[in-house]
């Protein structure tokens, strides 16, 4: 058949009625893109633990990088719900692919747009939007994960440049990045953002191997040994831990939507399998225990869809809070992980093979539940918001 749209997302509550025609076009386009470009190849790349290096250009062509930014900087001027639907569709393909896009859009382009000078925006954003240049975000360190305020990476001022020392770990896109948005402390102990480019002496990006998760995504370390960074590479608007944390709000928002995509793919595969697989002379979908699993999956996906939609409306109005974003990220990733596990059971032995996407999603989601604020840290963000007492200070 001519069209490659072979996926219909579950919509038990008529949530599509809440979407604008433009939202539906965005979703349909990304769905076609994912069906054509990601799904046919992703299992193979994941099995070989290899990043598909041709993908950034394709993401650039479809406009997946920085879609909410102004057109002057190469963006698509789309709203938060469109952005969320894009993340949902890409993660339906693979969490690693969504991670690549999230980092480029929310953690590289967004801070340059928000904290960068006009020259920095004009220089970097159009190339990043096209996928001609890839970026990564350096906040987490070997000894500082949930507690980034204790970071050890530092820079000192020397005449016309800064000298940067330290390292960052678990950096998505690190090994393929041309540009790193690096968060480091100045001599006064204040956290600022620096733009570190590949090729700067003393800057290296070793890759992390043997991952059982996000295998098609490129993950690594950023090492800075006496790196001379020109002063114009400081993000002038960045100031304090608040700056990188605001970037994380952007990325976590996308993850809340993305997780729904992974859950939808697992649910759709499980439903199809349950209707086709026959035991005791009838489809296993006719058994109550399988129906319970499927009904619970559909219920949880519906609740997560509503959370995302409402969060998107709040974000469009500039009212989405960190606590609200934490609630959605935490809830939806756990939901997706539980659905992946249940879907694995419905697929029986077949569920462990690469013929079905289940184990890939399941293993990917083990990272997604930990990165961008661990599952527990999001509880503490909510707890602090509810009680007014931070448990992590």
């Amino acid at each position: 058949m001519a069209n490659n749209t072979s996926f219909e997302s579950p919509d038990l509550y008529g949530i599509d009625d809440l979407l604008s025609p433009e939202h539906k076009v965005v979703r349909a386009s990304m769905r076609d893109f994912v069906n054509r470009e990601i799904i046919p190849v992703i299992e193979d790349y994941a099995q070989r633990a290899e990043f598909p290096t041709f993908m950034p250009r394709k993401f650039g062509e479809i406009g997946a990088f920085g879609p909410t930014l102004p057109a002057d900087y190469g963006g698509g001027e789309l709203d938060a719900i469109s952005y969320g639907l894009m993340m949902q569709e890409i993660e339906r393909g693979d969490s690693g692919m969504r991670s690549c896009v999230s980092v480029q859009s929310s953690l590289v382009m967004w801070p340059i747009f928000t904290y960068g000078s006009e020259e920095q925006k004009r220089h970097y954003l159009p190339k990043l939007a096209k996928g001609e240049m890839m970026g990564c975000f350096g906040l987490t360190e070997p000894n500082q994960g949930s507690d980034p305020a204790g970071m050890q990476t530092r820079f000192v001022e020397k005449r016309d440049h800064f000298v940067l020392n330290g390292s960052k770990l678990w950096i998505t896109n690190g090994p393929i990045a041309d540009l790193a948005v690096v968060w480091a402390k100045n001599e006064q102990g204040r956290i600022r953002g620096l733009l570190v480019e590949r090729g700067m002496e003393g800057f290296s990006t070793p890759e992390i191997h043997h991952k059982w998760s996000l295998r098609a995504s490129s993950t690594g370390e950023l090492v800075f040994q006496e790196v001379r960074v020109p002063k114009e590479n400081l993000l002038p608007g960045s100031d304090g831990l608040r700056s990188p944390l605001a970037c994380l709000d952007q990325a976590r928002y996308g993850i809340a939507w993305g997780a729904v995509g992974a859950a939808m793919d697992c649910y759709a595969s499980a439903l199809r399998y349950a209707l086709e697989r026959r035991q005791f002379g009838r489809p296993i979908a006719s058994f109550q225990l399988v129906q319970k699993k499927l009904a619970e999956m559909a219920t949880e996906i519906t609740k997560a869809q509503l959370l995302c939609w409402r969060l998107g409306v709040l974000k469009n109005e500039g009212r989405a809070t960190t606590a609200q974003i934490s609630l959605a990220k935490r809830n939806n990733v756990e939901m997706a992980l539980n659905i992946a596990r249940e879907a694995r059971q419905i697929h029986g032995a077949m569920g462990i093979t690469g013929d079905y996407p289940i184990m890939r999603h399941l293993m990917n989601l083990e990272s997604v539940i930990t990165y961008e604020g661990t599952h527990d840290i999001h509880l503490l963000i909510l707890g602090s918001d509810i009680t007014g007492i931070p448990a992590f200070k």
């Binding site: 058949m1 919509d11 076009v25």
Partner: protein, 245 residues
């Protein structure tokens, strides 16, 4: 060159079909709609021809307000403007009448559409439009090139291909591989916001068909595998159980 591309808004190919109103209407609840896949090819070729020869591409849809996502997608792919005839497109003659009415007001060099819609799969509209306008209509077109006022066309025929040359204006029903179908990018979707979409009321109401009822094909039966070396068993089952021999 002025090109009109007629597009349908049809249920996604994975839709589970059911009926309402005593099996005389499609149950639209929960159905997701897409551009007719053959229309997608027609539009993609139109956009390519515009890039090669200049001109404009107008998209026409006969449908109610809920078809707007499909129209916006066509604008995002590269059409310049769109017209929606505000009516439920239940009948091929009625749809053709709407297209012909729009075409009479505008001198299009090419009127392209899919070889058939994938909901009712009538495959009649291009032929009727051609007759109404007194223009040649050709379908299914799998290759189309324009040189001046001439069109070089490859059409699929039973067991082969038919190569034709015809003078514009023409009405063509298209299919793959006339062009690679295009996915709109996000910047295209943004620019589609400001492209004009004109809504017009239908011209006439000549619905010539009446739906008596729909029914679904019987569910697929269970498959019995017979080993290759037991051909005799197969023959006997085809005689005694399937009763087809």
């Amino acid at each position: 060159m002025k090109i009109l591309v007629c597009v349908t808004s049809v249920p996604d190919t994975t839709t589970k079909i059911s009926f309402t109103d005593n099996n005389t209407k499609l149950n639209r609840a929960g159905v997701q709609y897409i551009t007719g896949p053959y229309d997608d090819y027609a539009l993609s070729r139109a956009v390519e021809l515009k890039e090669q020869h200049g001109g404009t591409v107008t998209v026409l849809n006969v449908g109610e307000a809920d078809t707007e996502p499909v129209i916006r997608k066509c604008l995002a792919i590269g059409a310049d403007d769109a017209i929606r005839v505000n009516a439920d497109p239940t009948d091929a003659f009625f749809v053709a009448e709407q297209i012909a009415a729009i075409a009479r007001e505008n001198a299009y060099d090419l009127i392209l559409m899919g070889r058939e819609s994938i909901d009712y799969n009538g495959g009649q509209v291009h032929g009727i439009v051609g007759e109404m306008l007194g223009l040649p209509s050709i379908s299914p077109v799998m290759k189309l090139d324009i040189e001046g006022s001439k069109a070089r066309i490859t059409r699929e025929i039973e067991g082969g291909k038919d190569e034709l040359e015809a003078t514009l204006p023409l009405v063509l029903g298209c299919q793959e591989p006339i062009a690679e179908w295009k996915i709109p990018n996000m910047r295209g979707i943004m620019s589609a916001r400001t492209k004009p979409l004109k809504v017009v009321e239908p011209a006439g109401n000549d619905t010539l068909t009446k739906v008596a009822g729909y029914e679904l094909p019987p569910p697929r039966g269970a498959v019995r595998m017979i080993p290759a070396e037991e051909a005799e068993t197969l023959i006997s089952l085809l005689r005694t159980e399937a009763k087809v021999l």
